[in-house]
Symmetry: C2
Subunit: 242 residues, 2 copies
């Protein structure tokens, strides 16, 4: 069939090691906001929290550092990276630059199996989106995580046929960096919102399959729209908190 999708965050082949577990756990806790931005991550308390020793924790933290989720200063340890609207938009715009170029190349090179993967990924995402809570309550963490995963696969599939490994690598990297911003959006959204998003995804996919050059514009607009949605979700959360 086709190769699996690249993933900077996960595919490091370290599935079984404690370092990998530490990495996954820390990453989730940072993205879910268990650790607040700028909060220092003391080795001693992490050791206790996860029941691990220094070595795997340090290694995981270093990995998160290279993904810009944590900051580190020599001899003063690690702390959670801050979030800012400005950084979010900066990353979104760079993502647009990278992914639109990758998309152009994918549309040029893509064959049957690429299109097949895309359709499959879209369908898989649809199923997940339709399971979202209708009106009341928040989506569970597991639901949000599954949606996030399929969403990732879908966006990755759009550009998968690009001939450039480095573009795909950077796209994955930037996807990971924006996940942290997307999370509050996912947990507050309802099935209703998901349908809007899916409609956009469908429009983009159709344009891509038709090799319509305007597909890149649709993709860019989609990302900017997501950015705006995140901003209002954050505003909403802040209002509720107050």
């Amino acid at each position: 069939m086709a190769k699996s999708f690249p993933s900077n965050a996960n595919n490091r082949g370290n599935r079984g090691t404690l370092t990998e577990r530490a990495y996954q756990a820390l990453r989730r806790d940072i993205i879910d906001g268990i650790f607040a931005p700028c909060q220092p991550l003391r080795l001693e308390s992490l050791k206790e929290r996860y029941g691990l020793s220094f070595s795997p924790l340090r290694e995981a933290l270093n990995r998160l550092h290279s993904e810009k989720l944590v900051l580190s200063t020599a001899q003063r340890g690690f702390r959670v990276a801050e979030l800012s609207r400005q950084e979010m938009w900066d990353t979104i715009e760079t993502r647009i630059l990278i992914e639109c170029e990758a998309l152009r190349r994918a549309m040029k090179n893509g064959q049957d199996d690429w299109e097949t993967q895309m359709v499959a990924a879209f369908y898989s995402l649809s199923l997940c989106a339709e399971r979202y809570p209708m009106t009341s309550g928040e989506a569970s963490a597991a639901e949000a995580e599954e949606l996030e995963a399929r969403h990732r696969v879908f966006h990755c599939s759009l550009i998968a046929a690009s001939d450039s490994q480095s573009l795909l690598h950077l796209a994955a990297q930037l996807y990971d960096q924006t996940e942290r911003y997307r999370r509050p959006l996912l947990s507050t959204q309802r099935r209703f919102d998901q349908r809007d998003f899916q409609a956009e995804h469908k429009t983009i996919m159709d344009a891509v399959m038709a090799r319509d050059p305007a597909a890149t514009d649709l993709l860019a607009a989609h990302y900017r729209q997501t950015g705006t949605a995140i901003e209002s979700a954050l505003a909403r959360l802040k209002t509720e908190a107050a």
Copy 2:
């Protein structure tokens, strides 16, 4: 005056730690080809070679992994990443995409201090280039390293006034990844070749300062030309070896 230039490779603030030393030493040895591509990097032998313990070595190797200089597989340790013409060109083209966009933005936003930095960086690079051996012999490792450093600062200064941190970050990242390919070029070049390069640099800088939109084309051409020069330098080295 102005802020220092960003550098993914070095600026991690870990100056004094053993991890930092391990990182620098390993990086140099990989780039200089002391360790051949695909060669496994056994912890035990590295420990002996550098007189360090596991922890700093592992940390350094993980860092090099995220810079794509080494590969790692769970429970099977690390090995030097391979080199390929295809990967080189892929990286060069991506670099062009990123840097040209960054350059456009820099030309839009740049003020006096940006131009000043650029002129300074160019001059500093010129001095170094003029010290290169005229005809006979190879450039020393120290000479090549110094040239590389100033070259980096110059290219970084061109785009420094871009308003996007993420673009600058990616540009630095890609610069680091291409350094490994550039090295054989630097050690075989003579002052003669350096003058050609400096002429190109001058042309680019002048176009940039004049806010000429064609500056991006010049920059792209420069990188592609470098790629071609690397290819022929490699061919030459292979012929000499045989």
